[in-house]
């Protein structure tokens, strides 16, 4: 390119600029909204949540009670924690269809060791954590070592983990009274504390704590920045000096660990340990992430969005139920929400230039 050429290029840009700025003035408000939503990925989900609270508050009796609110939180605790694992992975432009399977397998290990075999409960829990972490690491290994798409890898391991969990548990449920007798610590996170008519479980507090921890990790550590960078543009991240495969592997492993923590919470929530439980947990976790404004294309989103997403689903389910709407319409509405959220994301990701 010669200098004369770049001069022309300059001129073209400048003359083009006038036209563009004229048009920009025209669509300024929409543009500003766009930029706002782009900079604050949790803004849109928060607005949806606020709007749904207002609507259900108006149409459903007993909706706005501390008790109902705490019930919603209890209901979303397990999915919220799975959503943390899912958010980490989706931020890297991956996906994990096996989160709930990892969770159930971990809980089965905890139950089998702690209750059926009577090992010390602490040991059983640690073993559950180890199994969850190993499952996540296996996903990460397959994704990074063999360059397989995360969707396919975790679709496969979903079945594998589910089968392993049926085999290891003999498809038997560990009953609530047996847990109480031998390993009550497993149900710790199901215990409730009453605050002003609301009933919070320890599990809900743990969930909130985990969201806080991962908010910090994602925003204030180099690892967190790397997670975003990899999801944004893996090749650029690699060239910029990030060991992308190592970080990716650690993301899946940490995700597996978080699923195992969810397992402990889930035991408290259900009271028993069933290999058949939470079969839809995989998809529910993805739903929470997507409604929370995290982009399935990676690199964009915020961990608290997932909390908002999970609560939004809970609010819709609870509100529609209190309003006397049939369960099938709850599913219908959640489905619509997902599609709207993804459509929003597509729009938001288009950067105005």
């Amino acid at each position: 390119m010669s200098d004369a050429n770049s001069d022309d290029y300059e001129k073209a840009i400048h003359s083009g600029g006038d036209v563009a700025s004229f048009e920009e003035r025209h669509r300024a408000p929409l543009e500003r909204l766009h930029n706002f939503l782009h900079s604050y990925p949790t803004a849109a989900p928060l607005m949806v949540l606020a709007a749904s609270l207002v609507v259900f508050g108006a149409i459903a009796d007993n909706f706005f009670t501390p008790f109902n609110f705490s019930l919603i939180i209890q209901q979303v605790t397990v999915i919220g924690v799975l959503g943390i694992a899912q958010t980490l992975i989706i931020l890297t432009a991956g996906i994990d269809l096996s989160v709930a399977a990892i969770m159930v397998l971990s809980s089965v290990v905890m139950g089998r060791l702690g209750v059926t075999m009577g090992l010390p409960t602490g040991l059983a829990i640690l073993a559950g954590f180890a199994v969850g972490t190993a499952c996540g690491a296996l996903n990460g290994f397959l994704v990074t070592r063999f360059k397989l798409p995360p969707f396919i890898v975790t679709l496969g391991t979903w079945s594998v983990f589910f089968a392993l969990n049926l085999w290891y548990s003999d498809a038997q449920t560990v009953r609530s009274q047996d847990i109480d007798a031998t390993a009550p610590l497993l149900k710790f996170f199901g215990e409730r504390v009453g605050i002003m008519g609301a009933q919070f479980t320890y599990g809900s507090f743990l969930m909130l704590g985990l969201f806080g921890v991962f908010w910090y990790v994602l925003n204030w550590t180099a690892w967190g920045r790397a997670v975003y960078a990899i999801g944004d543009d893996k090749e650029a991240a690699e060239l910029a000096g990030i060991r992308t495969d190592r970080i990716l592997l650690s993301v899946y492993a940490v995700g597996g660990f978080v699923c195992a923590v969810a397992a402990w919470i889930a035991i408290g929530r259900l009271g028993s340990i069933s290999p058949q439980s939470f079969y839809e947990g995989n998809l529910d976790a993805i739903t929470a992430v997507v409604i929370g404004g995290t982009s399935l294309f990676g690199g964009r989103g915020a961990i608290f969005g997932t909390l908002i997403g999970a609560i939004t689903v809970g609010v819709f389910r609870s509100g529609l139920k209190l309003a006397g709407v049939e369960v099938l319409w709850q599913e219908f509405t959640v489905g619509v929400l997902i599609i709207v959220a993804v459509a929003m994301d597509q729009w938001i990701r288009k950067v105005s230039s």
């Binding site: 180099a222 690892w223 790397a226 650029a236 991240a237 060239l239 910029a240 000096g241 990030i242």
Partner: protein, 265 residues
């Protein structure tokens, strides 16, 4: 020639070869960069310039050949290792993360940790220090028309993005700075600033590899010109002894370099 080529090159390559399937992007290519010089690399599109500098910066593993840094054989497993040896690169693709902020991008993979407990045990980043540093480096480049250092890179113009990538490389390079078409998206004024910055870096004593299609730029700043053609170094010529059209002719194969400057035999 103002460059002393009797000393050992800082960075050199011998017989570098890289094949992509049936395409040979680099064909037994040699390369030498001497202390304190600006070496321009010119060549047609697809000649293999980017592949060469990617091999030198650890982004591509050559199938054959040897790279030496300060005379010591090097084999980088990844760009980070090259960077840890002081080789800093602006890739043609810029290697920026669009959704991350300017500061985050400048410090990607080399973040500054906070002091004390938080930094040591909680691995907390010192965002204030990183902002300060980034702002300083961007002002040096005259890029402080950017109002907000926390703004996402994707909201910047192509030229501003290039500026961020150049600022990052020049700020952190401690041994060699490699720039793959750093002025391609820049206007006249911004190109000028980048050229000045390159000359500044040279004054700091760092050698620079500059890939460019812009002959006036090349002839203004380069001490030597590496002519690349069909995956090979064909010649290394002195810009003072040749005209721009000669250089273009050598690059396209329309003309041979004088025998004493040819390197491909």
């Amino acid at each position: 020639m103002s460059v002393d080529t009797s000393v050992e090159p800082i960075l050199s390559g011998r017989g570098l070869t890289k094949r992509y399937g049936r395409v040979t992007a680099m064909d037994a290519c040699d390369f030498d960069l001497y202390p304190g010089e600006i070496l321009a690399v010119i060549g047609d599109n697809g000649a293999g310039k980017s592949t060469l500098i990617k091999a030198l910066s650890g982004a591509v593993r050559p199938d054959e050949g040897e790279i030496r840094l300060d005379g010591k054989p090097m084999s980088y497993a990844n760009p980070l290792e090259a960077r840890e040896h002081g080789i800093e690169t602006v890739y043609q693709t810029l290697a920026l993360s669009p959704a991350l902020s300017i500061v985050d991008n400048m410090f990607l993979g080399r973040e500054i940790r906070a002091e004390g407990f938080a930094g040591k045990y909680l691995r907390k980043l010192d965002k204030a220090a990183m902002r300060r540093f980034a702002r300083e480096k961007l002002s040096e480049l005259g890029l402080m028309t950017i109002q907000n250092i926390d703004q996402a890179v994707e909201t910047l113009s192509g030229g501003q993005r290039q500026g961020v990538a150049v600022a990052r490389a020049c700020a952190f390079g401690s041994k060699v700075v490699i720039l793959d078409e750093p002025t391609a998206a820049l206007g006249v004024k911004e190109s000028r600033r980048v050229l000045d910055l390159i000359l500044d870096v040279k004054k700091r004593g760092l050698p620079i590899v500059l890939i460019s299609h812009n002959m006036p730029h090349v002839f203004e700043v380069a001490d030597r010109i590496h002519v690349h053609r069909l995956g090979k170094r064909k010649a290394v010529v002195d810009p003072k002894k040749h005209t721009m059209s000669d250089a273009v002719a050598m690059m396209t194969g329309a003309m041979e370099a004088p025998p004493e400057e040819r390197t491909d035999n």
